[in-house]
């Protein structure tokens, strides 16, 4: 886990980048939402390298948030009156954060992005359970990645069909997910 008392978003993201140390210069082109999601996935995968060894089509990503890409939408829109920025426009879709994680890791499995007012743990558990139990995926990164201006939260979970270390991993069910999500508040 990574904690930083910085409340200013770019300082936080910068320090998280240093911590995760992914050596990925393309990071700097991303918008804040993608940076947040990307870093969350890097930290998640640091301790779970096996996800990167599965066949590409069997690793998927299911994320959700409330604001979609609003933070970048606003920033992009401000450039329109002068010269519209293509680099910003690219990020005016929430699922681009999934694209960035896939590009980085080569993941080609099913992916989806849902919009909801609050993180819906039981929905996420049902959705991902279905994908894993029906052999659509072996492994799935899922969770919540929300960012608007200085307010942000990312809670990522790695769900893997094959767990060889039961003491470390946690059973993937709604109560556990809600517990983890809430315990890292603030």
């Amino acid at each position: 886990m990574f904690k930083n008392k910085e409340s200013e978003i770019s300082a936080f993201l910068e320090s998280a980048y240093v911590f995760a140390d992914p050596k990925y210069p393309k990071f700097y082109k991303m918008d804040n939402l993608s940076k947040l999601g990307f870093l969350a996935s890097e930290i998640l995968l640091k301790d779970n390298e096996q996800a990167r060894t599965y066949p590409a089509e069997e690793v998927g990503i299911v994320l959700s948030n409330a604001s979609a890409s609003l933070d970048t939408d606003v920033k992009y829109y401000k450039t329109v009156s002068d010269f519209a920025s293509p680099a910003l426009f690219v990020y005016t879709l929430p699922n681009i954060v999934i694209g960035e994680i896939c590009i980085r890791n080569g993941f080609k499995g099913e992916n989806a992005f849902f919009i909801s007012e609050r993180f819906d743990a039981s929905f996420m558990v049902d959705y991902v359970d279905n994908l894993i139990n029906n052999n659509i995926l072996q492994c799935c990164i899922c969770g919540w990645v929300e960012l608007f201006k200085e307010s942000y939260k990312a809670a990522f979970f790695l769900v893997d069909r094959n767990t060889d270390n039961p003491s470390v991993s946690t059973f993937f069910d709604t109560n556990q997910i809600v517990h983890i999500y809430q315990s890292n508040n603030g």
């Binding site: 700097y28 082109k29 519209a84 293509p86 680099a87």
Partner: protein
């Protein structure tokens, strides 16, 4: 060209680079700096914003943006025309 390099770094968010890291003739795309299609579009915006030059035909892009030197040459040529 040093100014141009600074502008390129700024426009494309190439955080880890300094102007002296970019060779005058170093390929910008594919190898060299490894820029992509979105970077190319941002360079087109750069030409408009800083130099008031409009590149409306995207196909000219690869030739113009081959290296910093070719970019500088293009800017000089088109700025001269404007005057």
């Amino acid at each position: 060209m040093a100014d141009l390099k600074r502008q390129i770094i700024e426009q494309l968010n190439l955080k880890d680079l300094k102007p002296e890291d970019i060779g005058d003739d170093q390929p910008l795309f594919v190898e060299g700096l490894g820029l992509d299609s979105i970077d190319a579009l941002e360079l087109i915006v750069l030409l408009q914003q800083e130099y008031k030059i409009k590149l409306s035909n995207a196909e000219e892009g690869p030739k113009v943006f081959q290296s910093v030197r070719t970019m500088a040459a293009y800017i000089t040529a088109h700025q001269a025309q404007k005057v």
